[in-house]
């Protein structure tokens, strides 16, 4: 490619102009909101008559309470369990989808449905299926396992978070499957066929040939799911076990408290969520770099 002969400054200006709209949304809105959240969590809230900036006491009291760490633990545990399950189920689904079978066209419609509809629908389905008065409980009564809805093991609204995890898995298994499937289509069959000719069995082909190829796709799908799960609000709000709640719900409750100073505490929770997300991103980048180096691309 020949070097540009036009004046450097003009090219730079043109480039900046092309990037400006996207950048302004990102910097002003997204960045602005993050900065405002941070400033407020450090005591800058003149609209509540509070301005003690910079004041680390809101973080101090938040991070100093044991309940915060329980909430963080629950948040991460639900997110991790759901991501793990979705990864396994989704990858297995993708591996099945690349094979030829009857009804494949229809199946490709079916499995993508959860991707297309809001989480709230998934939550509605969970309420209907898994509640103590729900369908599974009724089926258990129908076959004579239980006599009253109270005897049905509690699935929703417990700190085990089964209901939350179920909704995440329902929505994200197709997401993982799709990401992996796309990669599988992209890499084609050459390498695995070559391996088969060389005498590798199915299991060896999967672990030695296929998996390394789809791993980057899996990892980034996993991180997107995980980060989403950490920040998700609706499912833990409706299906969660109550106090101690996951972090997004804790933030919500603080913002709805009669005590306005707790709103600032809520901002500290929000910033903590962003920090967790930042750590996830950092881990992803580190992993990506490592992967690139290992593949010898750079």
């Amino acid at each position: 490619m020949p070097p540009t002969t036009s004046p450097d400054a003009r090219a730079r200006l043109w480039r900046a102009a092309q990037l400006a709209p996207v950048l302004s949304v990102l910097v002003l809105l997204f960045g602005g909101a993050l900065v405002l959240a941070l400033a407020q969590s450090l005591g800058f809230a003149p609209w509540f008559g509070v301005n003690t900036f910079p004041d680390p006491s809101y973080f101090g009291s938040l991070w100093g309470s044991a309940d915060f760490w329980v909430s963080l633990g629950l948040t991460l545990a639900y997110a991790l369990a759901a991501t793990g399950l979705a990864l396994i189920l989704g990858t297995a689904l993708a591996l099945a989808l690349v094979r030829a079978f009857r009804g494949q066209r229809l199946y490709k419609y079916i499995y993508k449905l959860p991707l297309m509809i809001p989480y709230t629908v998934g939550i509605a389905l969970a309420v209907l299926m898994l509640g103590n008065g729900g369908m599974v409980s009724r089926l258990a009564a129908f076959v004579g396992l239980i006599d009253s809805p109270g005897e049905f093991p509690r699935i929703l609204n417990t700190h085990y978070g089964w209901g939350i995890i179920a909704v995440y898995v329902w929505k994200q298994t197709p997401f993982v499957a799709l990401s992996v499937y796309a990669v599988l289509l992209g890499i084609g069959r050459d390498t695995s066929e070559a391996a088969a000719i060389l005498g590798a069995n199915r299991r060896q082909i999967f672990w030695r040939v296929t998996l390394p190829q789809i791993l980057p796709g899996i990892v980034s799908a996993a991180l997107i799911c995980f980060a989403f799960n950490v920040g998700a609000f609706e499912a833990p709000f409706i299906l969660g076990g109550g106090y101690p709640d996951t972090l997004p719900v804790v933030a919500w409750r603080y913002f709805n408290d009669a005590d306005y100073t707790l709103q600032i505490q809520g901002m500290a929770v929000v910033v903590s969520i962003a920090l967790v997300a930042g750590l996830i991103l950092f881990a992803w980048l580190a992993l990506y770099r490592w992967q690139e180096r290992r593949m010898g691309r750079r």
Binding site: Y109, P118, Y119, R138, L156, I224, E234
Partner: protein
């Protein structure tokens, strides 16, 4: 890669059941009048009560203007459409720069552009609300549309950058050499080659926008109802009645439409570019 193993056949069947199964009771619930534990079918159906009741029940309520479902559907589609159009317009030039130019701070920029994928809505929603109240944007369509740009831009940028990369400068330059005008180049070369990515990016932003709950809920302040916020208000207590079930089913319909459209216009790999990798 041959055929399915028996295990995989069962597995596909189970997953389909897991995904679609719960819709059966949802449909039944939407036709129920009273459906108490442990009945597997409603004790009283809506149609039995329909004539007697002075008020619209179940589907009569859901499909009437009272439920706000049409307003919510219209809002959802309208907001999704405008967000997609704006997102496309501002991402197209930016993606071109990202795909073709090398400059200082580019990797930082790429990093910044993918941040909204990782940083959750919860982290920005409340602060955004405070900013919007100041600016008079809270509770307005403009405010919601602007806010929806944040989570849609990363997807759009990814899709468009990859098509710009595939397009390369050579095609345009060759057409120029062959005597095409700038306008002809754009119309006959650039746009047709960009089309698959544009369609994919548009479908994705529309999908993401129509699925957003928290940002719309916070910034709409109850004034602007979309399908996700309407359903949330109905089920936030963790119970679902006939009208709630009906609304949940209607909320699913645009998703099914999107599914049909995307199967028609998108190749599976395009999804992969948006999500993974």
């Amino acid at each position: 890669m041959g055929r399915l193993s028996p295990f995989q056949k069962i597995y596909l069947f189970l997953i389909a059941g897991f995904i679609l199964g719960p819709f059966l009771p949802l449909i039944i619930q939407s036709f129920a009048f009273r459906w108490a534990w442990p009945d597997l079918l409603p004790g009283t159906w809506w149609l039995e009560q329909r004539e007697k009741s002075p008020i619209p029940l179940a589907w009569d309520y859901v499909l009437s203007p009272y439920s706000r479902i049409w307003e919510a559907t219209l809002n959802t589609v309208l907001i999704g459409g405008i967000v997609t159009a704006i997102c496309l317009a501002i991402c197209l030039p930016a993606a071109k720069v990202l795909a073709r130019d090398r400059f200082r701070g580019k990797s930082l920029l790429e990093f910044g552009l993918s941040l909204p994928l990782i940083v959750p809505e919860t982290a920005i929603g409340i602060a955004l609300l405070m900013m919007f109240i100041r600016l008079g944007l809270a509770g307005t369509y403009t405010g919601i549309i602007i806010a929806h740009l944040i989570p849609t831009i990363p997807y759009m940028i990814r899709m468009l950058t990859s098509v710009w990369q595939g397009l390369g400068r050579e095609f345009e330059e060759q057409a120029m050499i062959l005597g095409a005008s700038r306008w002809q180049v754009l119309r006959l070369v650039t746009l047709p080659m960009l089309m698959p990515g544009v369609v994919a990016g548009a479908l994705f932003s529309f999908l993401v926008s129509t699925n957003i709950f928290l940002l719309t809920f916070l910034l709409g302040q109850g004034k602007i109802v979309t399908l996700p916020t309407l359903l949330f208000s109905k089920i936030s207590g963790g119970q679902i009645d006939a009208t709630g079930a009906g609304i949940a089913l209607i909320v699913t319909v645009p998703g099914i439409a999107m599914l049909l459209i995307s199967e028609r216009f998108l190749r599976e790999e395009a999804f992969g570019q948006g999500f993974g990798n």
